[in-house]
Amino acid sequence: MTAVAEVVSPEKPKSITSGLDPRFKPRLYEHVGQNNSWTLEYALRHGAYEGAKKALAGTPESVQDEVKKAGLRGRGGAGFPTGVKWSFMPKEDGKPHYLVCNADESEPGTYKDRYLMEADPHQLLEGMLIGMHAIRANVGYIYIRGEYILGANRLNAAIAEARAAGILGENALGFGKSMEVHVHRGAGAYICGEETALMNSLEGLRANPRLKPPFPAQAGIFGMPSTVNNVVSIASAALIMRHGADWFSSMGTEKSKGNFLFHISGPIKRPGVYELPLGTTYREIIYTWGGGPTEPIKAFNPGGSSTPMLPFTDEILDMQADYENCAAKGTFLGTGGIILIPQNCDIVNMMYNYVRFYGHESCGKCTPCREGIGTWMNRIFQKLISGKGDPNDVKILEDLFGNIKGKSFCLLADSCIMPVQSAMKLFRDEFEYIAQHGKPMYTGYGNRWKDE
């Protein structure tokens, strides 16, 4: 099944790159679906906070080093090494530092953080303690999207339990340090996932992104050194401290290490979140775990709507999912949220859905994004879909791509252009067909709602 050969040195055991490998054991989602998994009593019975105790017994640098050694890269989409990010924080500046957990999870196709927070809030809190120690912070915020109500409630309950048990508070875990974690609920805005916009939102401002530099490690929330990490990055740090860097790096490919939460939406037999080692093939993820598509598929976004589409070919399906292989194909591993694109749905209609999304979520700060996506691209797509397009519209769209991508204030604009551009590259015939004939090449986007 796996076409990509692995380099195996004789003395080192072969690394784990399949969920079928008997050595692989899900850990991030180990307790998801278990009764009362969200209570402190359950969590303590299953080893919670042992990793935090190890971390707090050592220096911040020793924690950074362990996480660096593990090879953990940020799971929020960009894949920046977590330990390295922590080492950017100043040392003896006398200022308060903050750890911010990015639980905004609004990238279309992405739903991995949610179940982790609902089912295992103590795993995230343990990771917060570890991260806070590593960056010398006494306060951490979990910025959770406003719609995740059960998640916020479970986190708040877990925080209250942890405080009562002395895990958080003035003398956290008995190490003589004050450590507090607060939940801050968002209110429905995709841009709040962008780390500088998130910081503005947390400060009670409109969530427009900030200019970098200064970087968060220099001046983040409240003007103080801050680090923003995704939920799964922070939870992974807890597991690394519990089970060791070697355990983590025993999974994955040469440069992409560890367990990863792949999840699938669109027409798939078993939609779900599959914890698998990096380097698992897309075929294994989609067919072995997801049960295979329920209708013919022509492409997929590998890691959320913002990642350029890959064609649904044998070559791609046999590719090992990791940061490097995705980059080599011009896309990103992203959040791991795979969206299947059905063959018999018109690509122009589907991309209009994306364009509408990004246009709606544009914060309005800069013109290329606000007008380019919000007005121009939206109108051209509307024109094409309503059958009033002409062949020139495809050209105009291409022009717009070039004028928006790389020319906007933050990555939201690029996040819109990249998938749409990839769709046009793969399915240009469909764009030209609708522009010429006034009707789509495929009509399956119509009635898809089930009666029962």
């Binding site: 308060p96 179940y115 719609e147 209110a187 969530a207 775990w289 509408r356």
Partner: protein, 193 residues
């Protein structure tokens, strides 16, 4: 009548989450309290919040208008927010939306004459594995909605008539992998394997 006057402990707890002098950070949690209690945030409440966070009503309004889940006009007791993004669209959210508007005979910004329902289109709710779905008020998600399930839900809401939510599981299972096996998992109160 003041909303926060008899909620000083709550206000103090909210403010305590942020550093001294950073009251402004409390704007979102305060807006949320009002929105949940009253179904919208009136100008009078905006002014109250501005006073608590030592800011101006204009500033509070500018923050409020940035987000999609605060409302400046009254919503129904059951505010139905339907996800319209691609994974949901591929499961029929467009048809579900049309059906909802037709059945309730309302559009965006309206409230049904009995004050029960209002509707809103929203973007990806981060539950793409259980499409199509909607969020109801500031309560849970109602997932994998078929026409049959939606009709039953609307009937249930009508029968209650008071904004209360059904106790039964509103969520739908997704699949996870457990040591080499595919397992269905339900994340409701009392998660079931």
């Amino acid at each position: 009548m003041s909303f926060f006057a008899n909620k000083q402990a709550l206000v103090a707890e909210i403010l305590s989450r942020y550093p001294v002098g950073r009251e402004r950070s409390a704007v979102m949690p305060l807006l949320r309290e009002v929105q949940n209690a009253e179904g919208f945030v009136s100008d009078a409440r905006v002014a109250e919040i501005a006073a608590i966070i030592k800011s101006t009503p204009t500033e509070v309004k500018s923050v409020m208008s940035f987000y999609s889940t605060y409302s400046s006009s009254p919503t129904g007791k059951y505010h139905l927010q339907v996800c319209m993004t691609l994974s949901c669209a591929l499961a029929g959210s467009d048809q579900m939306w049309d059906y909802l508007c037709e059945t309730l005979d309302i559009g965006v910004g309206d409230v049904t004459s009995d004050g029960l329902f209002s509707v809103q289109k929203v973007e990806c709710l981060g539950s793409c594995g259980t499409a199509p779905l909607m969020q109801v008020s500031d309560s849970g998600y109602y997932e994998c909605l078929t026409k049959k399930r939606l009709n039953a839900l609307l009937a249930d809401f009508k029968a209650r008539g008071d904004g209360s939510m059904p106790e039964s599981d509103t969520r739908a299972p997704v699949f996870v992998q457990k040591n080499g096996d595919v397992v269905t998992q339900i994340t409701a109160e009392g998660a079931i394997l």
